[in-house]
């Protein structure tokens, strides 16, 4: 069934019946299986992968912060209240080259707007004195919806 929905949900009136036909199971079995997978976290959500670039959101910035590990949770949750932040992860640091542990994405049409939003974020979360860097995206070489990974989690 994972293979049957690999390319996405069929765009028709009864998509789960359509998946069932391909997988050789009934519509209600498909719905039940997807429900179980959502419950156990195998499916994190139903959703779309948006190509910001095509929408004119040319300036996607990866904003990275060096936050004390014990504070990262609180700050990560706080970031969510800012609508322009689309993703937030805590990741492993790679000192001395890479001291940052909190990553978030800010999308915008103009570079200035993105930078102002980063400033607003720092101020709103009391992070003005925390080390941070803003990495704007340049060329994009490859973007595909990997079978096993949500392309939404670009960072």
């Amino acid at each position: 069934m994972i293979t049957a929905v690999e390319r996405g949900l069929p765009l028709c009136r009864r998509p789960f019946r359509e998946i069932g036909k391909q997988a050789g199971i009934s519509e209600s079995e498909v719905i039940a299986a997807l429900g179980r997978m959502a419950e156990s976290g195998i499916i994190s959500r139903m959703g779309v992968i948006v190509r910001h670039h095509e929408l004119g959101y040319r300036n996607n910035a990866m904003v990275v912060w060096d936050i004390p590990d014990e504070k990262a949770g609180e700050i990560g949750r706080r970031f969510k209240t800012f609508a322009f932040v689309t993703l937030c992860y805590r990741r492993k640091r790679r000192p001395p080259v890479w001291p940052y542990n909190l990553f978030c994405m800010v999308h915008g049409r103009e570079r200035d707007v993105v930078l102002a939003q980063v400033e607003e974020l720092a101020e709103g979360c009391g992070l003005k004195d925390m080390p941070r860097e803003v990495l704007f995206s340049g060329r994009r070489f490859k973007q595909r919806g990997a079978v096993y990974s949500p392309a939404a989690s670009v960072i």
Binding site: V5, M37, I49, K80, Y89, R90, R139, K142, Y148
Partner: protein, 155 residues
């Protein structure tokens, strides 16, 4: 690399993208339910999703799998690539089917890519192969915690 003119979405398109990021009903006629929630006609909703997929605003609509829970590996990695070798290295990195996205970024670490593999262990193998082929160090920054993945369009 891509068309300079951004694709314009109307209010209904934006509402659909935002609406589809949240809960998607697991029912016999999920699109009818979503359409009702958004105040749209079901066939119009399906047609608009299809159009956004056709013109590449969306790459996929469907379940997002949690790679680690499926036994797969998923990580973000970065490299410090000499400017003169950038294109050649990008080609070497992108030749690996496990590399899902690759962005140039304006930083000492100037190449950033996502690696998605079917097993957790294969991440290390892909990284070792890239290091051997390019002679460059790959900084692996696996996720420790995900705070949120969201998306919304402001005005």
């Amino acid at each position: 690399m891509s068309a300079p003119k951004p694709i314009l979405l109307d209010d209904a398109d934006r509402a659909i993208i935002n609406g589809l990021q949240g809960a998607f009903p697991l029912s016999e006629e999920p699109f009818a339910e979503v359409a009702e929630r958004l105040g749209l006609d079901r066939d119009d909703l399906i047609a608009r999703i299809r159009r956004m997929l056709d013109n590449n605003v969306l790459t996929r609509f469907g379940p997002m799998y949690h790679a680690e829970k499926l036994g797969g590996g998923l990580t973000l990695a970065a490299m410090k690539v000499p400017e003169a070798d950038f294109d050649a290295v990008a080609e070497q990195v992108n030749a690996h089917p496990e590399v899902a996205h690759n962005y140039a970024r304006d930083h000492r670490l100037n190449m950033w890519f996502v690696i998605a593999t079917e097993t957790q262990q294969s991440i290390a193998e892909v990284i070792a192969a890239i290091e051997e082929e390019t002679g460059l160090k790959v900084y692996n920054m696996p996720k420790i915690r995900e705070f949120f993945i969201g998306l919304s369009f402001g005005a």
